[in-house]
Symmetry: C2
Subunit: 334 residues, 2 copies
Amino acid sequence: MATIYQVSELAGVSLATVSRVMNKNARVSEKTTKKVEEAMETLGYRPNSMARSLASNRSNSVGLLVSEVHGPFYGAMMSGIESELRASGMHVIIAAGHSEEATEKDGIEFLIDRSCDALILHVEAVSDEYLLELSRGRTPFVLINRDVESIEDNCICLDNELGGYLATRSVLDQGHTHIAYISGPLWKKDAKERYLGHQRALQESGLTQSSSLSFEGDFQAEGGSQGMRHLLASPDAFTAVVCGNDEMASGAMDEVRDQGLAIPGNISVQGFDNVGFSNYMFPKLSTVDYPVEAMGVMAARWVLKNVYNKNDLAVKNVFRPKLIARDSVKKLPR
Amino acid sequence: MATIYQVSELAGVSLATVSRVMNKNARVSEKTTKKVEEAMETLGYRPNSMARSLASNRSNSVGLLVSEVHGPFYGAMMSGIESELRASGMHVIIAAGHSEEATEKDGIEFLIDRSCDALILHVEAVSDEYLLELSRGRTPFVLINRDVESIEDNCICLDNELGGYLATRSVLDQGHTHIAYISGPLWKKDAKERYLGHQRALQESGLTQSSSLSFEGDFQAEGGSQGMRHLLASPDAFTAVVCGNDEMASGAMDEVRDQGLAIPGNISVQGFDNVGFSNYMFPKLSTVDYPVEAMGVMAARWVLKNVYNKNDLAVKNVFRPKLIARDSVKKLPR
DNA sequence: TGAAGAAATGTAAGCGCTTTCATTTATACC
DNA sequence: GGTATAAATGAAAGCGCTTACATTTCTTCA
């Protein structure tokens, strides 16, 4: 492996000059530049990234912590981040947090120890205080899908309340008035906010959520099934169910069918997230689009701007969800 | 940030000794070890990973190239790899190849330049020759889902031919005799082998594939829809379709329904891969399990064994697919 | 008890770059 | 042509570790 020294020898210049032409961060005469580039070419020189990092104190790596590496949601997020960062020559190191406090903290430490220049975090279990504390450290980070007071600028969020509102609004607009709700775990802020949006939509129509028609699930398919079982066993009738995310909507749909009912004939189902498979379901799931890939890209831009000084980039912190009407919600006659 | 030097000072020993207790690669007396560990503790010392890498010529990072960062298939793969490697303290750097030759090569170079100790590659577009050439370089790599002659030991594969056989065998076992096939792009080895397995199953039952009932798709939902449209327009009747993967099965199912037919009432559908959403589909898709997460784990083990000298690990190169019978294939009366 | 050998520790030379500061060379202007 | 100034280049000191080799300290056993 050729080193910078050999290049400098062959080009008949000093180490410093070679470094300068590599980094284009100081003026070098055209003639010298050419000599150096030729030398690099003939030696097949590739700079040693570790040496560069050590000397410059920049690793050009960004740590990415997601709850799960698999799953359509994180896939889209990682995809946006990877492409945006690689286009700028940075690499991304991934780690999983599994929505558990200890694992999330561990992952963050791991990434920091790995000399990441910045972190992109999708964390759920860790407390706001921990994140505030972290923000006083020397590794900058940006949060996806989390809004922490006093470091709002580091947060890239979806307006979940609005999303919850849109989801239920859409069902109301189709004439439904008896609406059940299966929420995510309410200790998760996004689950809570979606539920609040749902309630706002109901209130706007002069309705309130009957407590027997509301169920707290786990954001997984199984929780959706459980929820639907619970709801169908309730004395109160309903014609539609709004779910906190698409996975639970899927589970709920399975249960509806298991009980011999039709979708959307007997029961309409509304999801949230618009993850990849919602379009593969049958009937195709009406849902709310979570622009997760775009938000991933934005997180990457935040890093490029705030850590790598690409100041011309604009960063948008709050994204608006959008209703995706498909086939799982039936229009009711008035 | 404390350095090794400060630790050595506080502990009253030399740099070398501190390094030794960090790496546990030479004997240090118990007494000294304790002194050093205490010093580390009180200084909150964290080794600088870049300096370690430069000095030891080991980055403890493994590059992972997948075709797409999103998508259920790669998600499961990455998940297996990430967890296995992180448990051993290695980190994984991801890059996407997008199934295009130039992008794949570019990604590989990128990862090599990033000083990865090893590469885990899921490549499709790059040639066998290129990979052989690469194998002569100094960065070791392991291939997932690719079988290259003369470097078989570096390959972690699924027996796709067997999978194709099982898929069709299962449909035959349910009494179907008029079977259509929607393959993946036949230039991809796995698509080809699955198709071959399919044909073997047919032959075993004394049947042959009617050419009008065979369609070459693109491994995407859209290709499945196209294929089904094509097949339904053919003069030959069929009661079942076997698809090269689950995405195409999903697309095919949409088309079947669009034409007013029932699944599996009129047409049975068999998939391949058992990706996450196949269980969310309706009816639940009968498919063939591709143990992609396990294969990811195995690729990680290959790296641990061959690059990081964890010799006690066993590596299995060829995985066997398994039939997953669900609801999309109907049993025909004889 | 002391010599030989093993175990523990220290010394110092890198690893391949970046960057500050000093020096040389080119350019401009009177 | 000579001086002031700017531009180009070079010399060398790190960055924070690892590790080969040298040295010191401890064991062992005749």
